[in-house]
């Protein structure tokens, strides 16, 4: 597993305590899991995502991510409606391992409250949290 200084933690996204990240793209928010999360899980073999159109509130589970011997729930870092899902993950779940902030994105959300993202952690705050784990 990676040491903390080896982690890729970009500063153009916000982070949630459950290790999801959120990036603003126009009026929408894109959500995935952090490099730390994918590294802890190991080789990801399956990602289960919600239906487009599902309305989910902050903290609600929107899917699961599976490695060979573990399953983790994915939680909404912000509330909103699922506007799109990353269909590529069905065939290629390894994208989450290889490009967690790029092609490994999971869902696109039309946020209920666009300000909700401001409550999430910055790169620095997230790094501090990881150091404390």
């Amino acid at each position: 597993m990676k040491e903390i200084h080896e982690l890729d933690l970009p500063d153009d996204v916000r982070y949630a305590e459950d290790h999801e990240w959120v990036r603003s793209e126009g009026s929408k928010l894109v959500v995935g899991i952090s490099d730390y999360a994918q590294d802890q899980l190991g080789d990801i073999v399956f990602v289960e995502l919600p239906e487009v159109g599902a309305k989910l509130s902050k903290g609600e589970a929107f899917g699961t991510v599976e490695s060979v011997k573990a399953v983790s729930e994915l939680y909404m870092p912000v509330g909103g409606t699922i506007a799109a899902i990353n269909g590529k993950l069905e065939e290629s779940p390894e994208l989450v391992n290889n490009q967690p902030y790029g092609q490994g994105w999971m869902v696109e959300v039309q946020p209920g409250d666009p300000k909700e993202i401001d409550a999430l952690m910055t790169q620095q705050a997230y790094l501090e949290m990881l150091k404390g784990l």
């Binding site: 080789d43 073999v45 399956f46 599976e66 060979v68 779940p93 390894e94």
Partner: protein
């Protein structure tokens, strides 16, 4: 020290079944017909299954070669914690194969099946006696099925009293089957932590037990190999709030003739005949998971139940509060024969001695390995002992590497990464049927592996080296499942 048990020999490759054979061969002697052929409506007729055609020799060589790639208890020591891989006596196999048993139709009228019914009736009474419980049903087909039976009984008990409850307490040391079985009855598991000594404390249970909680699922001795020493008080707390205590009896092998489960407050427990009572595991089943209950739960046991009157045995459905049937017929009768045969061979003194020696073997391993491997709970254990990989972390060696390297030494690895409360757990259950020499050899192998971890860690990381195949790509297997040809 004798030579390392593990070595390499001539291992033969063997293709898949359908890569062998030739259309028109057969390994079966189909009887000549003595009746007229009778065609079936062609609308209903299919092509028949696409099976390969093989000769008897093809089939015999195929499976003989496959068998040599397996490690069994008959091959060597199999200290798989929580699984009680004791020796499986051969006489038991003989008994199960007697034509009177093997050829018996399950729906024979009882007067034509007295031998089987008597055996089952007596086995139930013997299991009552071993556990101290009041009544037993042999219907559950495996341990998890016995757990499900236990949960259904608890559910039926509360329902009968008009007191339906929604939760069940499950300690963090539990087998995964516990919460899964509880969930089938709609119970939401309430997890509780064990204390720094690796057991449950009474206060923890008091804090969560309430009138909404159906009861608790405990494993005793628990999965860390420790006896839950507050079990009596815990049972009292549960009972005071109207709950019931389910005990996972997977670890009964430690306490036969020593602890009376009824007396300490257990309401229902399941046994694994394939653990404590020596029936073989068969590469993952068939097992058998009888469920034993006290007087509170007896009316709810599965039907039909075997009843006796004047030496005649019968099947009775006359138990109106029963949870119903758990499998098509009577459960895994073939497995019951083996457990019965084991109890008849051991007697009371033999069973107690088995428990004592299983505990002796585990404590002996604990004492001799605790200076080498980290022991999270250094106190006398029952029939299994849990170490972890903490002392090896400096060399970036994990529990998995130790397990894989043990294969090269000719041992089946212990259970690894369970229980979950001990990170990197190495759970060793030698069982009573291992002799001192073999245990010493195992201990020395473990010590040598620890030494190798320091001197040549790569040797461990790339282990095993002497098996038919080496470490397998489980990631691709799960990403792109290939489950049939």
């Amino acid at each position: 020290m004798n030579k390392n048990l593990g070595t390499t020999g001539l291992i033969l490759n063997e293709p898949l079944l359908w890569e062998k054979g030739s259309k028109g061969r057969t390994g079966f002697s189909v009887p000549e017909s003595d009746v007229d052929a009778s065609p079936l409506d062609s609308e209903l007729v299919g092509d028949g299954p696409d099976f390969p055609d093989l000769s008897e020799v093809d089939v015999v060589r195929h499976y003989t070669r496959l068998s040599t790639w397996n490690f069994g208890v008959d091959t060597g020591m199999y200290p798989l914690g929580s699984c009680t891989m004791k020796y499986n006596p051969k006489t038991n196999e003989r008994q199960a194969r007697l034509p009177g048993f093997a050829g018996a139709h399950p729906l024979l009228p009882p007067q034509l099946a007295q031998g089987a019914l008597e055996l089952m009736y007596k086995l139930e009474r013997y299991l009552d006696e071993v556990t101290g419980m009041q009544a037993t049903s042999l219907q559950p087909a495996a341990g998890a099925h016995g757990e499900l039976a236990g949960m259904l009984l608890i559910y039926a008990y509360h329902k009968h009293r008009g007191d339906q409850r929604s939760k069940i307490i499950i300690p963090d040391t539990a087998h995964g089957t516990n919460p899964a079985s509880a969930a089938l009855c709609g119970y939401r598991p309430v997890p509780v932590k064990s204390n720094e000594n690796g057991v449950l404390s009474v206060e923890t249970i008091e804090a969560v037990m309430d009138a909404e909680t159906a009861g608790i699922m405990v494993t005793n001795p628990n999965t860390i190999g420790l006896f839950e020493d507050h079990i009596r008080e815990i049972c009292r707390v549960i009972h005071d709030k109207g709950g019931l205590v389910y005990c996972d009896g997977a670890n009964m092998n430690a306490i036969m003739g020593i602890v009376d489960m009824n007396e300490i407050g257990i309401d229902v427990l399941h046994l694994n005949l394939h653990k404590t009572f020596s029936t073989p595991h068969g590469g993952g089943g068939p097992g058998s998971g009888p469920v034993c209950v006290n007087d509170k739960l007896e009316p709810f046991l599965p039907v039909p139940r075997i009843v006796e009157k004047d030496g005649q045995y019968n099947l009775s459905e006359d138990f109106p509060r029963s949870i119903g049937k758990l499998d098509t017929f009577h459960g895994h009768f073939g497995v019951m024969i083996k457990a019965y045969s084991y109890i008849m061979s051991m007697g009371a003194a033999g069973l107690k001695k088995a428990s004592q020696l299983s505990v002796l073997n585990a404590n002996y391993i604990k004492e001799r390995l605790k200076s080498t491997y980290h022991l999270p709970h250094d106190r006398p254990c029952m029939h299994e002992v849990v170490f972890n990989d903490q002392n090896l972390q400096a060399y970036k060696i994990t529990t998995l590497d130790v397990a894989k390297r043990l294969m090269d030494y000719g041992f089946h690895p212990p259970t690894v990464y369970f229980p979950l409360v001990v990170p990197g757990a190495i759970m060793i259950e030698p069982t009573e049927t291992e002799c001192k020499q073999d245990i010493d050899r195992f201990i020395e192998a473990m010590q040598q592996i620890a030494q190798e971890a320091k001197e040549d860690p790569e040797l461990l990381k790339s282990a095993p080296h002497r098996s038919k195949v080496r470490r397998l790509d489980e990631t691709t297997a799960a990403r792109k499942p290939c489950l049939a040809n």
